[in-house]
Symmetry: C3
Subunit: 361 residues, 3 copies
């Protein structure tokens, strides 16, 4: 199959494509060139990433291991262009850079850039990109990261763009860390294949759930359960995707009935910041909170996830239960992003070798 | 004596303890686990810190020495969580991290964090702590750093918390740098024991003076003099502490009478930002300013200190006098913080060895 | 000739001197101590800088080369004191620091410093300077960087000050990068000597043009053309300088007539932020825009420059032409600043040796 290249396609044509169509232009030899969409990853890529993240995490346990990791990309520089604030995503990527020796530079407040002097946003980002080898970008406008990646692919200095959240639509590394957490949680039990994942809360508006549901179709025999108040239930377009992929699912409103069936529960926050007229306030959302009382209903080896921040969806008293996986999920975000950056720069073989030596000893 | 651990005590009980009682829960084998209070340090710890700071400063004089220091904690990451701005304290800690190879990440504006979305402050800091090996924290709320240290001690990932100033009450590393400056200033003359320290200015509201006075009780035969306008005079509770420790002191309003007696003068700024109704404005504070005219009254080997920033308490013309120690004091802050971080991570032995080789040559 | 030192002169006397007079106090043995003025550089220094920048750029092409560069100043720390925002200049210097292993710390918002508590600006910067080995400073007040450099030269801890833009008057590293870009553009054709440089746009208010015109007088047989709307034409004082240096020039308003004569065209933005009463709005500035239609009029080996940001002075369609040099100009800024920092710390010999080994292979 001939490799598709972003530099070969016009912007108008690219924009009109579907997510999987776009995805084909973003990878090269099973590695991401730009990471813009959850949909650009297939199962082999996901497994490579998870495997790499675990190796990096293991190597990072010793001082010598950390020092080794810091040599891997020590000659690279990254710009973290966060036009929209998100301290946790920022820190997660920042840390991933530091772990690999990548020198990070932060651009937070874009009003201090030349945009104010009448420069085009494209010129601004292209100028900034001159100084770095990678752009990690969070932007309130959906599709902005795609636009920048496309633009840079048409210059003589294309640097990878990693989407750290754009508008309401995409936050691909969140989906990757969720997959990694599931894989880790089901380690020694056949992995993700054949498991039942229960999604709870605001399923209509969370980009997280949409992306993760899609990625689960890469696995065999996964079953999805969607529990939410009627107006926040999972959207038809996602269900159509699952249908096309042949993935079984069930929809409901009775949280407690579904709990015992789940191998993983994915709790979410009601995203009332997207409310048009306070509609969330009229819902009885407490029915969808996970409390201490639910712990006995939960399978002994199930895992409880949450993308955080939480409000009251999971009671703090639940944190001490070994099945509470959300704090580990945060750390996993750091490791999967580290793996992603390494894969993007095609330096993963050095980790493979180091890990092999380490485990042979 | 059995070692007390923060993880063994409930929050309510810990909160109710006095400063020395709390201190016992913050150290482990004569090293700080968390650095929250000036009162957690005893004389052996202070001497270990000062000794270490001097060794680090000596090693840092050469390019090779600096490169060695940067390997000591090169696998560590620190978050500088500054919910309250203070560029100088920030830079001092930031530099200390860089000197040891610790990778720093800054969180300045907490409104960009998820606190706005209804997350608890505890969840926010716990999330951020996931990415780092140490938290350096400045917060307007007294006791917040304590709360976070306690909270992390009850998770499976306790990272050290260093208090870089909380509310009106504690700024322990300022007290440590003051002790280090005194020790350095009295080097070759028996150290701090037996010296007379004159405190001048706003003694009621400066946390600096309160902490330093307390730490001086760790030494033998120190005498304190407190000179201030009546309403800003040192508080009763501090004097009771000195009484209990058997440390002699004198109180007065006649600055010039006390100058010739002092081995060290500790000048402070009138902290009118804590004024309730402009009460500082009605005071004749100029009586408590150190000017060129006072230089002849000062002992030949006395030292003149100021925590900075100053306004008019010390005339700029005094800066050139060799007894003006306040600029050196700033640098000392950097060195003592470097020593503190190293001690916290129990890596001081490597500095001892390097220093020994250095001085043997 | 006896070396002049900033520490030997009073502030009042220094302030009254002309630019070349000041320049003599800023260098030491053909290297900058402080970099404050374009006028402190002479031809040998410019050539040394350009040569060094090219060597660094070449070495930086490999992973091993980058790792070598990062050792050169790995024991140094820099403060980027940006009291006036400029993300691109900031990133350019920040990157230059990282390339050499210099640890950067950023001070952006000076209102978070102690200036608010009544401290003098001099004390503030002196305190901050305690933590670093170099200050890179951008400030809205013309002459502020000079003042700080002078002040530090009168303390026992003088650290280099690099002016990254002060007020309307000086931005010396912009002029250096322009010289480097010209030199690079004319490489293999005798360099800058004997070339014709056409300046277009807002020649009255751009500090860039003024500084560059001055530096061009260091070369032989250069001819300058100035094309601008009457009110924005180059100022008399610059022309007097060129007269004194014996550099020929021509002034006009007919852009297209001059294009074919130019070896380099230096386009500039109308700086309407300095307008007193919207005077720029009444001008027909479009006559001074470079469009696709001008490409055929341009010499085959001419180069087209712009300090960026641009608005409509150069059409984006022109970007793809090989003579469009402005994106390369951005990268050149990074390289020349790297060279400048290295020269300031007198570590350039290590680059010379590495480069020699590299090219001998």
């Amino acid at each position: 199959m001939e490799q598709k290249r972003l530099s070969d396609i016009g912007w108008g044509e690219f924009q009109k494509m579907g997510l999987t169509g776009k995805g084909e232009y973003l990878n090269h030899r099973q590695r991401p060139v730009h990471t813009l969409l959850a949909q650009q990853f297939d199962r082999p890529m996901l497994e490579r990433l998870c495997d790499l993240a675990t190796k990096i995490r293991t190597i990072a346990r010793t001082r010598g291991g950390m020092q080794f990791l810091q040599t891997l990309l020590s000659e690279k520089r990254a710009m973290l262009y966060f036009a929209q604030p998100s301290t946790r995503t920022f820190l997660s990527f920042y840390t991933a850079c530091q772990t690999l020796g990548v020198k990070p530079a932060e651009v937070r407040d874009t009003t201090t850039s030349s945009e104010v002097k009448g420069e085009s946003p494209e010129d601004t980002v292209r100028t900034f990109s001159s100084f770095v080898d990678m752009i990690i970008m969070r932007h309130p406008v959906g599709g902005f990261a795609e636009r920048i990646a496309w633009l840079l692919s048409h210059t003589d200095r294309e640097v990878p763009v990693l989407n750290a959240g754009s508008g309401k639509d995409q936050h691909p590394t969140q989906a990757l860390l969720d997959i990694y957490t599931l894989q880790q949680g089901f380690d020694g039990r056949g992995g993700i294949d054949g498991k039942t994942v229960l999604f709870v809360g605001d399923l209509a508006r969370g980009r997280t759930v949409r992306s993760l549901a899609w990625l689960l179709t890469c696995y065999e025999g996964v079953r999805a359960l969607f529990v939410a108040p009627e107006p926040l239930q999972i959207r038809e377009d996602v269900l159509r995707q699952l249908d096309r992929a042949g993935m079984p699912y069930e929809i409901g409103t009775d949280f407690e009935r579904f709990i015992p069936e789940a191998d993983a529960i994915y709790m979410t926050r009601i995203q009332d910041e997207w409310d048009v007229s306070d509609e969330s306030k009229t819902l009885n959302v407490e029915k969808y909170f996970f409390t201490r009382d639910h712990l006995p209903m939960l399978k002994r080896d199930a895992i409880l996830m949450h993308p955080l921040p939480r409000r009251r969806e999971i009671d703090a008293e639940v944190d001490a239960d070994p099945r509470a996986y959300y704090w580990r999920q945060v750390r996993n975000g750091m490791w999967i992003r580290t793996a992603l950056i390494l894969l993007t720069f095609q330096r993963e073989a050095e980790v493979d070798r180091y890990y092999e030596d380490l485990t042979r000893e």
